[in-house]
């Protein structure tokens, strides 16, 4: 800044900016809960998933008292009325544990609880009061706050896996792969359109870039409550067939559970990974652990956890 006029411009702009009265930031989102955020790739990669119904798959009833502090105790023989999930996510030097309860229907009520800490014991985060969390505690039509919200009306897709969508989704890996590619292309078209938040580059629609985008969406889709087991197994095959996929046996998730890791690198070489156990259940990533089950009511201890 060399001239008096330039200094005047800067001062005038600060003057106007200072005139803007402070207002609190409005509540953001309906369900700000914790999962891993992978490194940025060349293009936008959005989140996926919503409440999902139509649960299938075997359940294992855990014995009471498996948790060190009682938070993990499983109530016996309770009616399994709502979906339950618990996700532990490493975020910097902190670990966030979020428990989510949600009804089976898309517009049913949901509730969540979170704790933060720096250590894990018996698969749970040891609460640390120095880690403050801020999240909405309840709502309807997860992750929306209410059925009137825009997110609740958004049609289902692989990138927005609603209960109806998953119930009727194809189980053919080739068909799914094509649908995922179509959605990824459409997403890139939208995000790089004039006025969009990204500039289109020669890499925008490259197979590697689209695959990364699809894997990032699937990471969320695989973790939704009520994802059918047979569909999870098919999605694993789809992921295994992605261009450039790296397969690592014996990879551990955040809580040490081991399985087969499927990874794609971003432009810096950092890996976006999903891990499946031997039964093709999705268990998270090296910085995330996902556990799902059923609970008798919102906020109640889980009656069953799925293995």
């Amino acid at each position: 800044m060399s001239t008096e006029l330039e200094k005047d411009v800067a001062a005038a702009l600060r003057f106007r900016a200072d005139e803007v009265p402070d207002t609190p930031c409005p509540p953001l989102g309906a369900a700000r809960v914790a999962t891993q955020r992978p490194k940025r790739w060349l293009v936008p990669a959005a989140a996926a998933a919503a409440a999902v119904a139509g649960l299938t798959g075997a359940a294992i009833v855990l014995l009471p008292g498996s948790g060190g502090d009682g938070r993990d105790q499983v109530t016996a023989a309770a009616p399994t009325d709502v979906y339950y999930s618990r996700t532990l996510t490493e975020s910097g030097d902190r670990i966030i544990e979020m428990q989510l309860w949600q009804g089976k229907g898309r517009t049913d009520a949901w509730q969540q609880e979170g704790v933060g800490g720096t250590t894990i014991k018996d698969g749970r985060v040891v609460p640390d009061n120095s880690v403050q969390l801020d999240y909405p505690e309840k709502g309807e039509c997860y992750p929306a706050a209410s059925p009137a919200d825009e997110a609740c009306a958004k049609p289902g897709s692989w990138f927005n896996p609603t209960p109806d969508f998953l119930a009727g989704a194809p189980r053919d890996a080739t068909v799914i792969a094509q649908q995922l590619n179509d959605e990824a292309v459409a997403e890139e078209e939208r995000r790089t359109a004039p006025g969009g938040d990204f500039d289109r580059t020669e890499e925008t629609f490259s197979p590697a870039n689209l695959a990364y985008l699809e894997l990032n969406y699937l990471r969320g889709t695989l973790a939704v409550n009520g994802m059918p087991d047979d569909l999870t197994a098919v999605l694993r095959r789809v992921i295994a067939g992605m261009p450039g996929i790296q397969v690592t046996e014996g990879m551990a998730n955040l809580t040490g559970q081991r399985g087969t890791g499927y990874s794609l690198p971003d432009h810096k070489g950092d890996l976006l990974t999903v891990i499946f156990d031997a039964d093709s259940d999705y268990i998270g990533s090296p910085t995330e652990a996902v556990v799902r089950g059923m609970a008798p009511a919102l906020g109640a201890a889980p009656s069953t956890l799925f293995d």
Partner: protein
């Protein structure tokens, strides 16, 4: 579990910390604090909804770019409205008359003329002199070349100098 807005709470805190800085930036770009708040809220919600993958390193730059794009869209729509209005409308959020009396006349004169600059030039001016971005950072934010930034800044300053000289004469 993972949801449409799967974000770690620290990520949300970063967004909330950026609320007022971005509102001020959008106000400078749109000339309207009410519109600015709408623009920024849209951007933050979009990040929550669409960009859980973004890392903290790129967060602020991404938000700034999103705010600029949406402010530009807002201005485009406003211009359409203004065609049906007589003359150039005064930005709604300029300082009140009382505050203006207390403010330096030079500032008010500069701001009036900044408001008359073409959108691209105003964006460059705001990013360079308010956000204190380098030419390269400004270019990256706007998605243009450094040469374009230099040219836009040069034209803007010359335009301001010319208009203010005209006014003083």
């Amino acid at each position: 579990m993972a949801a449409d807005v799967n974000l770690a709470p620290p990520f949300v805190h970063v967004l909330e910390e950026q609320w007022m800085p971005l509102v001020r930036l959008a106000t400078l770009l749109t000339g309207d604090a009410d519109a600015a708040r709408d623009v920024v809220q849209d951007c933050l919600e979009a990040v929550l909804r669409l960009r859980p993958d973004i890392d903290d390193e790129h967060m602020v730059a991404y938000l700034r770019k999103a705010v600029i794009n949406r402010s530009r869209s807002r201005l485009r729509r406003q211009r359409t409205v203004n065609r049906y209005l007589a003359g150039l409308t005064r930005p709604k959020d300029v300082p009140s008359a009382e505050r203006e009396l207390l403010a330096a006349e030079r500032h008010r004169e500069v701001l009036r003329n900044v408001d008359l600059l073409p959108t691209r030039q105003r964006e460059v001016i705001v990013l360079r002199y308010y956000c204190e971005l380098s030419e390269a950072e400004t270019a990256a934010t706007l998605g243009v070349s450094v040469g374009t930034v230099k040219a836009a800044a040069h034209r803007a300053i010359n335009s301001l100098r010319r208009r203010m000289k005209d006014t003083s004469e």
